[in-house]
């Protein structure tokens, strides 16, 4: 018991000695110098953080404005579309419609290539075509040379042209010799490759 108390006392004394020995120890002055330098550097750079925030906020506002402007532009095709329909029908106006070719044809959905084009080009002429269809009689599309239907899968254009009536002979159609030199309306089907693939002749009712 006594020896244990002696041990405890000795331990306390020894620990106190160690504590006393280390009590005056401090970090070297270089540490303070380094920390003060860092502190000054941080203080100097602190306002720039504020500036960064301002720049970031301005950038965000610009992005938001840009997105809003883009959205408003993408919603605008309606007025453009109206303008197109207001224009009087011109002779060589591109008309996109499902071609009636004798040979097997691609599905109508596959015929049109891109969506934006579809909205701006296709819808306006549709009414035109409907009006034409009411007033015109047209032959079926006749292939001009070899027609590979696959070439029409990417889309195409029908262009209204006038050709000499003598051209009807080439397709085996009857021609009145008295009107041999007159012109006749025709719709030529152009593929995306720019080649004329088919033709149909049109007559006003």
């Amino acid at each position: 018991m006594n020896s244990q108390r002696f041990d405890e006392e000795t331990l306390n004394r020894n620990l106190a000695l160690l504590a006393e020995e280390t009590a005056s120890l401090n970090a070297p002055p270089e540490v303070e110098q380094k920390l003060l330098e860092v502190f000054r550097a941080r203080r100097v750079s602190a306002p720039t953080y504020g500036r960064y925030w301002l720049v970031a906020a301005a950038a965000m506002i610009l992005i938001v404005i840009g997105v809003v402007a883009l959205r408003s532009q993408t919603d605008k095709p309606k007025p453009e579309f109206a303008r197109q329909t207001e224009q009087p029908p011109i002779k060589q106006q591109p008309i996109v419609e499902e071609p009636k070719v004798d040979q097997p044809q691609p599905a109508p959905q596959q015929f049109v290539a891109e969506r934006p084009r579809r909205r701006s080009i296709r819808r306006a002429p549709r009414s035109e075509v409907a009006n034409h269809m009411n007033r015109e009689i047209a032959t079926d599309f006749m292939p001009l040379g070899y027609l590979n239907p696959a070439t029409l899968q990417d889309g195409g254009q029908i262009i209204r042209v006038e050709v000499p009536r003598s051209a009807l002979v080439n397709f085996g159609l009857p021609v009145n010799p008295d009107r041999y030199h007159e012109k006749v309306k025709a719709d030529v089907l152009f593929g995306v490759d720019g080649m004329a693939h088919a033709i149909r002749f049109v007559k006003n009712q």
Partner: protein, 206 residues
């Protein structure tokens, strides 16, 4: 300067976070000693103690706003941060221990060769060295309570704040740590006694 030196730690911290360099310097000078000594007594290495002190005050600069006065004193907060850094550093050092690390650890102590072994007080220096080695050989969880409660004279309550545990845990760990220290130091005393006994017997035979 004099007015600021009368301010409490929390007020100085507030000023420091607002960019007051003087407040930071005052706070550093007031608290660096505790942090440095704690790191030194925990690691036994001057280099680690310096690094840890620097890291602790850098942390205070960057993340000082996380300190919550309601949860304890700033001193406890800083010692807690120092403890985390020391333990992390010791874990890393354990993985990278080179051959002959014991010698380095001894060499890292404050003036091991010159200050701690003056010729006129060799016995005292040797005792301190023995106790220091015994403390350093304790497992970390016992070492930290000895360093805080016995060497830093921190109250049990503050030690509990630093270690993030209950006061009862601090007490029990300290009790266990003292037992371990006694068992480590006792053989040395016994060896001394045995040596002196053998000298006496040698004297008899002489």
């Amino acid at each position: 300067m004099n007015l600021k030196s009368e301010l409490g730690d929390n007020e100085l911290l507030r000023l420091m976070l607002a960019g007051d360099e003087q407040a930071f310097a005052l706070l550093y000078r007031r608290r660096q000693g505790n942090v440095y000594r704690f790191a030194l007594q925990m690691s036994g290495s001057k280099c680690i103690a310096e690094d840890v002190t620097q890291e602790v005050f850098l942390f205070l600069m960057r993340e000082g706003q996380v300190f919550d006065p309601a949860r304890g004193s700033l001193s406890s907060f800083l010692l807690g941060v120092a403890r985390n850094h020391v333990l992390r550093r010791m874990r890393v050092d354990q993985m990278l221990t080179p051959i002959g690390d014991d010698d380095d650890a001894e060499a890292g102590l404050p003036g091991t060769e010159i200050d701690w072994r003056p010729l006129d007080d060799l016995a005292r220096a040797e005792t301190i060295e023995l106790v220091r080695k015994a403390v350093l050989s304790l497992p970390a969880k016992y070492r930290e309570v000895v360093v805080l409660c016995e060497l830093q004279d921190v109250s049990y309550g503050e030690a509990a704040e630093v270690l993030g545990c209950a006061i009862g845990t601090v007490r029990s760990r300290l009790h266990r740590a003292r037992g371990l220290l006694l068992s480590k130091l006792r053989p040395a005393e016994q060896v001394d006694e045995e040596a002196s006994a053998s000298l006496k017997s040698a004297g008899c035979f002489a």
